[in-house]
Structure formats: C-alpha cells, structure tokens
Subunit: 272 residues, 4 copies
C-alpha cells in the first residue's frame, strides 16, 4: 500500500508544460491515484464487497452516484505560472491551497501576457462575457501597439520607483493584470474535477481554459480511470431539467418537441 | 428569539464608510449577535448550566478557551470597494463567500487608488515586505506624476479598445492592480476575527489595515461583547513561546532574562 | 436593502416541525432570500444589466449554469433534534457550522428513536445499503420487544452509573445510536441545496430523508424562486452520461436504444 | 524535487500503532515534509531570499508569525480505528476528508471500547466536562459488569435482527457509542496542528487525547522541524491576554500581581 506510484505520472512529474506565451503548469507532487480512490471507498463498504466489483466499475459507480468523498483522498500539488487576471479567476475556487509570489517581497519581472494574433476578438453581442470573431489585421495591430506602449510605460515607472527606493508594495500598484504570477496550488481530485468542469466550459475565458486543459491532461496521467469516468459522467454528460427530461420522453415516443422559444433553444444546444 | 436586532448595528446598516481615496465598507446584513453566540453555546451545555453564567462571562470563556464554533453562528455580509491589489490579499481568506464585479461583463470605470502624500514611503531594509520613512517632496511628486501618466495611458488604451469593439475580457488585461473593484463579501464571526487578527497586524500592508479597521468598528457594533473579548484575549493578547514563558517565570522571580540575541529581541518586542 | 424579511418565512420562524417520533426541525434564523441572490449576482454583472432580466429569469440562469456563488449569500440556522445515527450522516456535510449538545456536560434524557410499524423492513438484496419489504407482524413485534429491552437495560445502567458519581463522559459510552441529540446547524443555500440533493435521494436512509423533506419545505418558504429553480434544474433534473446522451439522440431519431445490459437498466431507470 | 521521501516516516508507514483496547492509528500516506513547507514559502518570497535563511529558521518564522499557508501543502492520510464517541469528536474538525465504514453496508463486529481499570473515574465537580479521581474497586466492578451486560444484550438483539433478515441500517440503531468504527482520515499539516492543539489539551477527553498523542508522534516523524516549531510556538506556548501581559510587565518590574480572584487563578494556572 503506502505511496502509490503511477508510472505515467512519474514521467511527467516536475516537467513544465507551457501554457500561453510565458506560462506553465508543473506537477510538483501527487498523492494517491485510482487505487487510493478504491481503497478509500472500500473502507465504507467493509471487507465483504471487495471481490464483487472491479476497480473500474467501482470508480464509475462512485462518479455516477455523486459519492464524492473517495475522490477527496487524492491530492495534487501544481506549480503554476499564469497572468494575474487568470489567477484571479483561479482563486475563486476556495478549496485550493495556495502560496503565491508576493510583490511586497519580490521585484516582479516584466513578463506580461500578450494574446496571439488569432485570439484577439470582438466583443460578443449574444454573450455578455464572451468573445466573437477575430478582428481584422489593422485593428489587431493597433491593439498590439497599445499593449506594447502600456508595458513600456508601466515598467519604466515601476523600475524608476524601485531605483528611487520606493517600497515595493507601493511601486507595484500600477502593474497590469496581464502580469505573470507564480504559485503553488494544491487541490484534491474531487474539487479539481469541479474546477475542471467549470473552467473547461466554453463560456470560461479562453486563457483559463488553456490552463484547465493542461491540468486535465496531467490529472489523466495520475488517475486515468477516474478521469475517464469524469469525462463520461460529468464533463461530457448533460444535465437535463425536469421539463427537458419530459420532453425527451415525449420525443422518444415519436411526439414533437413540446418546448418553445428560449427553452427550446437551450434544450437543442444541449442535444447538439 | 428568531431575528436578533442590535440597535447600534441598525444605525449603521447600509451606510458607506469611506476607506482610502475611493473605497468603502458597507454592512449589507448581519445575522445573529452576542446573544446568538450564547444561545449556540448553551445548546452544547444543555439546559442545566443556563443560570450559572452571565452572557459576558460565557463569551469570554469561549474566546479564552478556543471554543470557536458558537462564533461561527454569526454572519456578516459586506459590500466592499477596494483596489484589486488589496482584494487579492483579502481573497486569500478562503472562508469568505464572495461575488465580485467582473471585467468580462462590465466596463470598468477609471477609479484607481492613489496613496496620500504621507503614505508614500521608502522600502524598509529590516522588513522585506514593509515600508520605511515617508519620502521627500521631490520624490513624492515624481511618484505622483508617474502614477498620473500610467493612468492616462492605460485608460486611453482601454477605452480605445472598447470603442473598437474589442472583447471586454481582453481589453481589460492591462488595467492596473490599483483599479477599484467591488464585491459582496460574507464571513462568519469566527473567521472574521481570524482575518482581523492577521490584517490588523502592523506587518500587514497599510491599505488592507485601513479596511480591516473599518470592518472591526462595524463588527463591534453588532457584537460588542464578543469584540471586547476578541481584543482582550486575541487581538491584543500575546503568544509567548515555551522558552519565552520560562523566561517570564525566571524574570518574575527576579532573575535576569535568560534569552540572547535575536530571541531576546523578539521577546522584548512582545513585552513592549 | 439591509435585512430581507420574507413574510411566509416569518410565519414559520421559530416553530418546531415534528420529524420521526421525537425529532424536529426549527428555523432559528435566516439571512437573505431570493432578492439577496439577485443583489449578489448583479454585483458581478455591474449596473448595466439590471433592467434586462427579471429576478426569476436570473435565478434560473444562475442555477442552470452552476453559478453557485450568489446562493452562498443566503444563510439558514436550524435547531435540529434527531437520532445520533442520523446526525452522523448529517455531519458528513462539512460545510455546515454546528453546535451540538454534549454528553460530557449534560445528562442525556432517555429519548430514543423507534421506527413506526410500517418502517421496519427486510434487508434489500439488490441494494446493499437499503430496505426491502415491510416485515410481518410477528417479526415486527420481536423487533419492537428487542428495542424495548435494549432501552430498559441501557438507561438503567446509565442512570445507575450517574447515581454512583461516575463521570458523565464515561457513563454515556454505551448509549445507543438511536438516542436523540440536538444541535444548532447552519448552512448557506448553495450547500443546503447540495445536501438536499443527496439526502432526498431514494437511496438515502428513510430517517434522514424525513429531515431533508422538512428542511426543503422550510427553505422553500424563505426562497421560493430559488427552490423552484432547484427542483427544476437540479433535484428533479437528470444527468445523462455522454453515452446516454448519444442514445437519446439516436432514439429521438427513431432508432433502437443502443445500450445493453446494466447500462441499459440504469438508463431506463433515469428515463422512468 | 517531486516526491519527498522522509526516511523516518518510511519506517512507520503502514504500521498499526495501537490506541486504547482495540483501536489504532496507521499512516497510510504522506505528501511533502519539512522541505515542502520551505519550498512553498519560498515561492512567496521569490528567488532572492533563498540563501538568507536556513530551513529551520524559516519554518520557525512561519510558525511564530501565523504564516500558515505553507503548512497546508503537506498532507497526511491516516487509517483510524476508534470508538464512535471519539469519532464524533474527531468529525467536528471539518477540514478533514473522511471515508468511514457504514453500518448500512456492513455487519458491524462486536468490538466495543472498555476503559482500563485506572480510567474509570468520578465526575469532576470543578470541571463540568471532566473526570476526577479513580473510583474504588467495588464501584469499578459494578461499572465493568454493567458494561458487560449492555454488550451481551445489545449484540444478541443486533445479531438476532440480522438473522431474521432485518435491514442492516435498522438493526444497527441501538448499537452503542462505544462501538469501534474505522475510517480513512486525511488532513493537511496546518489543520492537523490545530486539531492537535485542541485535542491534546488536558480538557479534551482522555480517549481522544490518546489518539492525538499517537498522531503527533507520527507527524513528528514526517515533519520533525515543523513539529518542533509547533511544540515551541503553539502547543506548549501560552497565550496571555492583554490584562495578563500587563500583569507580567508589572511583575517583572518587581510589583505585586495586580490581578484578583478568578482572573488571578487563571493567570497562575498559565504560569505553572
């Protein structure tokens, strides 16, 4: 028993996986794996059931029935480097433990996030929090130039204040949200899956989705069975409301979709 | 029983208490008060003990002995407006519930924090995270000018991007950490006292201490007895290590302080 | 703003709603209501959107899209009296704050849970954690007699130990799991909905479901819109796995159900 | 970096350390160690400070100043076997993750806790929750006989109900609080220290103190430096209230103790 070593995880342990222009995700450590989930669950069911279920069946059963506590027995510790505006979304997941670099102690380097050309988009009209189509070349250039000017001025001021001996905690207050920060970030698998569900959603901001995707890949190395169950029963599953479930029953019986208007649109999005 | 109405709290409910140049703390709601703490504690002790203790005695007993669960039964909901760099310290207190304005949905106004003249300080040498003496007028003016230039350029770029139809979630990435944000922030009294203990500490950054001070004043209106107990047994109490406690015993017996070097310095700071 | 008073909730505030033979649920206090959810959500979306959504639409939107943080701004404090074996299930919901009567401080009265005649069931074969059919009269009488003998002996010993001056914390160690306990129990609405989802499930033990049902009724008085949304999008909604969702699409198109065996059974249970 | 292997911890990993008559504590896994605390803290302080502090100095600094987040980066998973009345105290520490054997799934064996002869005590008069002197032989024998009769009857009824096919979740309701239960129990070091502080206190019940002592020994194997710092600055440290700290100053200056009555008693207990 004791330490659970997962070969595929050992291979990627401590490696930096690049995300965006200067960021990365690095798995610092993990604790447990699919077999820890099974061990933990079996303590609830006692000795007798051990021979009746295969690990995979049990993990799928747990996932399907929201028996979440065994997934809390697997821990991940990541080293993340990400823009502050992404870190501010990350930190909303309050079950994570975290140590972040502090601009009070440290001089911040001038690394800021700059979107790739194909990720400079128009504001979406339909989705108040989203992006629409990629902008044309002229506008893209203007945006890039603007970003460049911001950075030049801000870091000139910042460094000038530091040179004059101004307190770091004060000199840093105009640093931009695009500034890269670093942190140790630790979460258990249950809460990590919840995080991934929300931050892999197409409505999440592109930049945090990139981090979530890399984290998912790493989690899959450590817990391949649980991650497969997560994809099947949660990430790629669909929650149909009571009304929608009734509509499904009617439609399977050959009836027309009884929903109308916006409700019908939402339902059809779920089905497609 | 039911709703506990505290007169002194009703008077300040919903009022904005200004903090820093554009910020505020507003008590949106509270739930419980000193008498809820007593009620909750008494459920643990059963009927019989009711007549033996006065409320104040019981609350002091609970505070002194780390019986924290009754303090968790009182809730506070605040509306806060604060610079993002302060909010980033606040959010580290993971027991708070929170809803914050989102730069993905909303156009951010150009309110940024600018320190008063007397809060522009040199970097402390002894304290890596702190401020030393106030800077001279010339340097202060340079800093102020720098801040002004930052703000002009950054918001010009931001507004220009919005005018061009760039997605809000993208246009905002160079906004500064000094930008004011707003949030609903809710915590129970036990965790609020823990927050206050840490953020009223002289090593906490001046700007968050200002918010903590205002929050403490409001908490005192709602729970005057518990707050008095907090000041006496926690905020203004001193934790002496095993070695320091032994030193105290020796010194009370008329002996010399047995501590040396840095240990002695720390001890003397605690005593003075 | 400030305190939100919900008339229907005021009527039931502080009333004991009986559950099982000696238990009850009493709403001690609440903080917020549907309008607090809306207020909190709107802080995220900023001023501009206020006129575009009705409260009900917004609450349903939040529920449907797992925007859970505004539901965390509503708090409930209950006074519960329940058997210890039920309390041991309740306490697994770790987001609740709690003060429970202590058998170290208080002499416990001899109130124990005894199931009604129609809730004495056989062990289920198909469901390892469940009950099957009601037992016949003869067996029921034996069970009842057994329970009576247990209680007589146990409390005779308990009281005899107390009379001899044995420490309460020791005398109580053989008291039964059926003993009634009391507690203050406080939770926010988001976590309360999660609790209700799990403990209203037909696989939850009958006795805790009875408490959950009463709690749901009370929550509905305080937050009728949110509770309706919870029923529609969560409690009575169905989560279909990726494979099941594909099956639904096929069947709506007139194809046979592509699932087989146990997977098909689970799917059909969800549909019926 | 990656996995941190602590030799002294490897030696005890997976071993059962007996506690009370049938219980045990077993370290299933750990994640991190003293060096993880240091690593995590240094991410906050940035590269530059690395050479200035030794690990031990840094860990003591963190402990002394309530910089708790780096201690959250070390995880422990225990397998515990303990009486239910102890487990009910344990579960109040809500930061622990837990999987416990369920009497709904499993037939419970008839192992119950019976105190050693020297731990059968009278009720304390001064301490409402405590034990006083050990009882005489005659009374001890009566208590033991009473416990024996309880157990015989209760398990006879339990087994008879199971033989008759009564549902396990129902048959178990009169099982005693002294029954042994088992669980996986996982906590980070920061919260474990908090648990230990409270449950090693002389006012905690003897039986849970026994578990806490064994857990402390195990934690010390994994994190010897942090545990030493915990003993010095927390477990064996003393919190003196504002008034008491003023009294200390006066007394060090050769004055009489200015405190009177109960306040003086409490102060003198702290000093001795």
């Amino acid at each position: 028993m004791a330490h659970i070593i997962v070969d595929a995880a050992e291979e990627i342990l401590d490696k930096e996986f690049p995300v965006l222009d200067h960021g990365f995700v690095r798995l610092v450590d993990y604790n447990g794996g699919d077999s820890r989930i099974v061990q933990s669950a079996r303590i609830s069911y006692g000795e007798g059931t051990k021979s009746y279920r295969q690990d995979k069946g049990l993990i799928n059963y747990l996932m399907r029935n929201d028996h979440t506590s065994p997934f809390e027995m697997v821990n991940f510790t990541f080293h993340l480097k990400m823009p502050i505006f992404v870190a501010r979304q990350l930190v909303r997941h309050r079950t994570a433990k975290m140590n972040e670099i502090s601009g009070r102690y440290s001089v911040m380097s001038d690394e800021v996030y700059r979107p790739d050309r194909q990720h400079i988009n128009k504001q979406s009209d339909s989705n108040k929090q989203g992006r629409a189509e990629v902008v044309d070349d002229e506008l893209a250039s203007q945006v890039m130039d603007g970003f460049t000017k911001d950075k030049e001025l801000i870091f000139e001021q910042y460094n000038s204040m530091l040179d004059s001996g101004i307190a770091r905690e004060l000199a840093r207050i105009d640093l931009p949200l695009s500034l890269y920060t670093e942190m140790y970030w630790s979460m258990d698998l249950r809460n990590l899956f919840h995080f991934l569900k929300l931050r892999l959603d197409p409505h999440a901001q592109y930049e945090i989705r990139e981090f979530a995707n890399t984290i998912l890949d790493i989690v899959e190395k450590v817990c391949p069975i649980a991650t497969e169950a997560f994809r099947e029963h949660n990430l790629n599953a669909t929650n149909f409301s009571l009304t929608e479930t009734d509509a499904i029953k009617a439609m399977i019986n050959g009836e027309e979709c009884p929903l109308k208007g916006r409700a019908k649109e939402i339902f059809e999005e779920k089905l497609n």
